[in-house]
């Protein structure tokens, strides 16, 4: 039997959730509705006139092979960012969890990069890998590797993935560490007494017990990779070379604010909204089943 606090009547609960509902309506539903509405028109930039095109913007987009290619780019980018940022964070968290001395300092230092805005992070990494003055690019040159993300698509993708993951590692680290510390020591000790080595304990006890955290981070990180990495892309590659790093959200910006094509930009936002909704539903329906709370 679950224990629940229930309210009598509808008015008090409604009143209590009202502020949240209002904020959601004003800041989420209204703009989303506007985007859907605008996606049905081709407006001129100044808002002087609008041409009704129905689903014409969507048709135009989906028939564009460069737009379709952008889906693949986004998938590759998002998966890489999520895997890299979560993998490294988990590794660091496991190490930090085992530390006895100096763990406070270690933790604090690891959290720092989270305070760096994506655009600034982008500039920092660009500076290190700048083909002309970058420190890393220079050392690579010494080792005989000619780094050139300005023309090499793979290198450009690698660079934006690393730059996007970097700040994110801190965030994920915090959650993983908290999750690890919430695992009862007695369970692990019992396993150790039974002769389970570290890797065995991690695989059969720690990782499953960490799964709610992992799942939460998976959802949050994918959303991050889809939407918030814009600043990094903008500062490092502007979507290039060719279209190697043009992810969907970057194209929304480019079409809307560089091309002044608000109809196409709105239609892309709607498509992006749908993708993320579907992804989240899929995650909750299928991945969550494997999560032990």
């Amino acid at each position: 039997m679950e224990k629940r606090v229930t309210f009598k009547g509808i008015w008090l609960p409604l009143l209590l959730v009202l502020p949240q509902l209002l904020i959601t309506a004003v800041f989420f539903f209204y703009p989303a509705g506007q985007a859907v509405w605008q996606s049905l028109f081709i407006p001129d930039p100044f808002g002087l006139s609008m041409q009704w095109v129905g689903l014409g913007n969507f048709e135009y987009l989906l028939s564009d092979k460069y737009y379709r290619a952008s889906f693949q780019t986004t998938a590759v980018f998002s998966i890489l960012v999520t895997v890299v940022s979560m993998g490294v964070a988990l590794y660091l968290a496991v190490l930090a969890d085992r530390l006895i001395k100096g763990s406070g300092t270690y933790r604090t230092l690891l959290i720092w990069p989270y305070a760096v805005a994506p655009a600034v992070a982008g500039v920092l990494w660009l500076f290190m890998f700048n083909t002309r003055v970058g420190v890393v690019a220079w050392y690579l040159g010494v080792l005989g590797y000619d780094w050139n993300h300005v023309l090499n698509e793979g290198e450009a993708m690698g660079l934006v993935v690393v730059a996007s993951s970097w700040g994110r590692i801190s965030y994920n680290f915090l959650f993983f560490l908290a999750g690890l510390q919430a695992i009862p020591k007695s369970v692990i000790e019992a396993a150790a007494i039974d002769g389970a080595r570290f890797w065995m304990r991690f695989r059969t006890i720690v990782f499953p017990l960490l799964s709610p955290t992992t799942f939460f981070l998976l959802v949050v990180n994918i959303v991050y990779a889809f939407f918030e990495t814009f600043g990094v892309i903008h500062t490092i590659t502007s979507g290039g070379p060719q279209q190697a790093t043009t992810i969907l959200v970057y194209k929304v910006f480019a079409d809307g604010f560089v091309g002044q094509d608000l109809g196409s930009s709105a239609a892309q936002s709607v498509i992006l909204l749908l993708i993320v909704s579907v992804l989240t539903v899929v995650q909750f329906k299928f991945v969550e089943r494997r999560v032990h709370y």
């Binding site: 081709i42 100044f46 135009y60 300005v150 023309l151 290039g240 604010f257 560089v258 094509d261």
Partner: protein, 436 residues
């Protein structure tokens, strides 16, 4: 309620009192920072001090794209400035916005201001005039691409620094010699689409787009996949493959390489002058942009880049009078001559160029007149008047992408230019629809 009314009344009195005693305010949004920002501020101060009827307030709104977006957003909210600086690629967007902008010639006419359109340099104002020859915006900062030469690098490679670089054929020979001498970066460029396609087309008197480069209609299509352009890009691609042309980025990233003395040749705007002069620790020189010998009609004239000032709709007559006075002030001989000499931008009036010459500026700073001569050498044709294409900022992005395909060897020049034309045309069709 009563309190509110009285407060409103008070506010109303306060504002009218404010305007009655002070001058009419003219708002001017621009995209300049650093040294250029200081020079603009100086111009505004000089204007404000020169008369007492109007006061111009200048605000910096970010880079070119951001300034245009700020202007558009402000117009949508009914808060637009009187004057908005828009870069040349935004020209078609502004022209199509009939209810949002007030043509400059109209502003001048209605304000009864003196305004002689013939005083302006043809190839500068041509970019911003309607097909019947009326000026729609006032050119503010205009430059044109030239060839920058690192004379020390040529000497070091055993090449006579005075060697002929007037044609691409000759440049090719020099690049061979530079490469053979072990020069790491024989040539680089800034603004590849502007210099190596847009200006290349005008300079060789071939169309960049149909319908007179978009001047006579929004139903224009890109023609940048013509033989002249493809041959040039193919050659550049060869040079890129051989390490004779080093690609540094879509904007003016190559400037850092040139100013540091790493590159021997550099195609860049004439307005790169201030930066190169300040940083270069080597003997440098400005040469005219090379052309392909054997192409009929070359060299025609190059076209400009930069920005112009647009007057926004929806302001009071009094403000428009102020705008007219300010624009007249900006195009006056002394102000223009000073601007030209300080920045390396082209003078917008013939008189300002002549004054600069009389002052002996060109003798003291050799090469600073090359851009002016290159622009004014020939009367502009339909192919060299300028470009008027919608979504042009984005089309440039597409061209950048396609050119990167050529530089990395993924695509042939013909493939890349065909693809650029096809993709660009799709955007032009959308613009045509939105401007209907």
């Amino acid at each position: 309620m009563k309190l509110q009314t009285s407060m409103l009344a008070f506010a109303a009195v306060a504002t009218t009192a404010g305007t009655a005693s002070a001058q009419t305010e003219v708002e001017f949004w621009h995209a300049f920072t650093g040294r250029l920002g200081e020079l603009v501020a100086e111009q505004v101060e000089t204007f404000n001090a020169s008369q007492s009827d109007y006061v111009v307030t200048a605000s910096h709104k970010g880079n070119y794209s951001e300034t245009l977006n700020a202007g558009i957003a402000a117009f949508r909210a009914g808060e637009q400035p009187d004057i908005l600086m828009v870069f040349e690629v935004g020209t078609a967007t502004m022209m199509a916005a009939k209810g949002a902008v007030k043509p400059v010639y109209e502003v001048m006419e209605e304000a009864g201001a003196e305004f002689d359109q013939d005083a302006f340099i043809g190839s500068v104002k041509g970019y911003y005039t309607s097909s019947d020859g009326q000026m729609l915006s006032l050119p503010f900062n205009s430059s044109t691409p030239v060839l920058w030469v690192n004379r020390d690098a040529l000497s070091a490679a055993g090449i006579d620094p005075d060697t002929d670089l007037s044609t691409w054929q000759k440049v090719g020979e020099t690049l061979d010699a530079l490469k053979a001498a072990g020069q790491e970066c024989p040539m680089t460029t800034a603004w590849q689409s502007w210099i190596h396609l847009e200006n290349l087309s005008a300079y060789h008197n071939v169309p960049f787009a149909t319908k007179d480069n978009g001047f006579s209609g929004t139903d224009t299509e890109l023609a940048l996949n013509g033989p002249v352009q493809v041959q040039h890009i193919a050659q550049m691609g060869e040079w890129a493959k051989d390490g004779k042309f080093i690609y540094a980025g879509r904007r003016n990233e190559g400037g850092a390489n040139f100013r540091a003395g790493e590159c021997a040749l550099f195609t860049e705007s004439s307005a790169g002058y201030a930066g190169i002069k300040a940083e270069a620790e080597f003997d440098f020189e400005v040469r005219p942009l090379p052309y392909w010998e054997g192409v009929e009609g070359a060299p025609q004239n190059t076209i400009i880049g930069g920005a112009s000032l647009w007057v926004m709709e929806g302001q009071s007559d009094e403000e428009y009078k102020g705008v007219a006075a300010f624009l007249n002030f900006l195009s006056s001989v002394d102000i223009q001559a000073k601007w030209h000499q300080d920045t390396g931008y082209l003078p917008i009036t013939t008189a300002a160029g002549e004054k600069t010459k009389e002052m002996g500026f060109y003798d003291e700073n050799p090469g600073t007149d090359i851009a002016v001569m290159q622009m004014t050498a020939n009367e502009p044709t339909a192919n060299s008047k300028g470009l008027r294409l919608g979504s042009f900022d984005q089309i440039r992005g597409i061209i950048d992408e396609e050119l990167e395909g050529v530089w990395s060897g993924d695509k042939t020049a013909q493939e890349a230019m065909d693809s650029a034309a096809e993709r660009g045309n799709a955007l032009l069709r959308r613009f045509e629809q939105s401007a209907r």
